[in-house]
Symmetry: C2
Subunit: 324 residues, 2 copies
């Protein structure tokens, strides 16, 4: 069987995750990585091309995986590339997803391409589980807990505080709240009170520790109003314990099947590497995009619109026999 | 909007679960319950008809939910009813699913109906999660743990032992094995060693306890080779603690995103009432069957073939805005 050919656009953590993840999929083949940098600057054994050359690959790449950022890259890149290619992205600005969808859908329909958006785990697998849980248990409440996991945005914010040399911020769900939902107890949930923010940082020489702590705790939007724990560590400890990108979380729904009986629906992820797992999800949806385009199912698609069998390299008959 | 009209075939635990569950879905409407018994024997305020009258409802019922047993009812009932109706079933004989699919698919395609098979949670939601997890993490192992939960078949087997008055059997996964997978440890899994069988029973007067215990522990297929715990209780304890039908379980996959990094994918259910939750899943797939038939997507479908959005009463735009 002919393999589905893949192009990677962007070579940050996500792009690297896709590159390595593709090696686990025998039905997919990496054609090249496309970058805005000088191609020879990338340390990789895969073929690398300047992004300006992308158009030359119109007939040799089945699906492009867009690995740029949601703030600046995807909103402009995705609609443009969907003119020529089937695409998959990990656009994660929840509020703007409907707009992103409409834009992509128009371009993809006009150009007979398939554009799968907002894959990954949130949006992505978490969204899917919110949908399944709510559709099956209409009478109930859904709870999302993020972490324990590294928050890139919050880590950056701490690093910008004067006196901070290195820093990481972990979002940690409050275990007693997670347990309450699991144990069928009622919970007055709000996102802010359900999570702690745990900071580990290395101080600059001569930094004012008290001032650093205060600057972090009172930072609006990021930390103010959250339970925040700040631990000062030395460089060696930082290098040893805090250079990974772990993440994960849980989506749960407590639903009533009758007044007497409760059902708890639970989906969880525990990831040593957030970008590698996000890449793994994206790869499965790239496979789906390839199949959908072959069937002329054009337009924008979210994880809600794609039948699960499209994600697997196995054919429907194998799936029924082995996994149902 | 016109509601999707539903018929229930069979009025055991599952049929009762569907009847009560439909009350939570504003877009679905129960037309009637169809039974082989005399209709006036059923204790319910819903309309009840003899199953021989079913054909009269060909034009008024959009989807039939088949609530009979997988051993004797579904294999013959489903293909026959799919000649006239869109159907959903909970056929759970895993080995025979491919045959059931082929039979149903032929009938449904010939008659322009949609037949959704093997919904529920295993097969059903557990199958879906086995597929998602394997497609996303190709390099890894999937583990299924069933329970803690009441096993109907094993309870019946214990009840047939001489000297046993009442009995229940719970299947209980070994927590240390569940924890090993969660904690990213390697596990040499087999279904038999991963579960305990826990029996609570009330003895007949003058029963030989030793003989009862031995008959159970050595029963081939059901208990022999399993770690089995048998507890003798009195009637009052039995009536107080062991008349529900709880169940649940966990599907987990430990996958490697790179040689260094592991991801744990976890899906779990904790159900006070197994038949009520199975009914709830089936209802969501009945909604899907109604939509698929309207779009002329005829033939047999499994949970793998149905895009998640079909399960929800919300339209795709609402779903993107609220749940993605």
């Amino acid at each position: 069987m002919k393999k589905t050919t893949i192009g990677i656009v962007g070579y940050g953590n996500l792009g690297k995750g896709v590159e390595v993840g593709l090696k686990h999929s025998v039905d997919l083949e990496l054609v090249g990585i496309f970058t805005r940098r000088q191609p020879d600057q990338l340390e990789t054994s895969s073929p690398v091309y300047h992004i300006d050359k992308l158009v030359d690959f119109k007939d040799t790449i089945d699906v492009l995986i867009l690995c740029g950022g949601s703030q600046k890259d995807i909103p402009t890149q995705a609609p443009k590339m969907a003119e020529l290619f089937n695409t998959v992205d990990t656009y994660d600005n929840h509020n703007e997803i409907p707009t992103h969808f409409e834009k992509l859908d128009k371009v993809a329909r006009n150009n007979n391409t398939t554009a799968v958006l907002s894959t990954g785990w949130d949006p992505g697998l978490f969204s899917l589980n919110r949908l399944f849980a709510e559709a099956i248990l209409p009478k109930g409440n859904t709870y999302t807990f993020w972490g324990p996991g590294l928050s890139q945005g919050h880590s950056d914010a701490v690093r910008r505080v004067e006196g901070v040399k290195h820093a990481v911020q972990y979002t940690v769900p409050k275990q007693e709240q997670v347990d309450a939902v699991k144990n069928k107890k009622s919970l007055d949930y709000n996102k802010q009170d359900a999570h702690k923010r745990v900071v580990f940082l290395v101080l600059d020489e001569n930094a004012d520790e008290k001032k650093v702590r205060e600057s972090i705790s009172t930072m609006p939007d990021y930390f103010y109003g959250y339970e925040t724990e700040i631990t000062i560590i030395d460089q060696a400890t930082f290098d040893r314990d805090h250079t990974g990108m772990p993440h994960g979380g849980t989506v749960m729904r407590q639903g009533k099947t009758t007044d007497e009986n409760t059902a708890v629906y639970q989906f969880g992820l525990d990831l040593d590497s957030n970008p590698e797992f996000t890449a793994a999800v994206t790869i499965a949806y790239a496979r789906a995009a390839g199949k959908l385009a072959k069937e002329k199912q054009y337009g924008a698609k979210t994880v809600f619109d794609i039948a699960p069998s499209y994600l697997s390299p196995k054919d429907p008959k194998e799936l029924r026999k082995e996994l149902l």
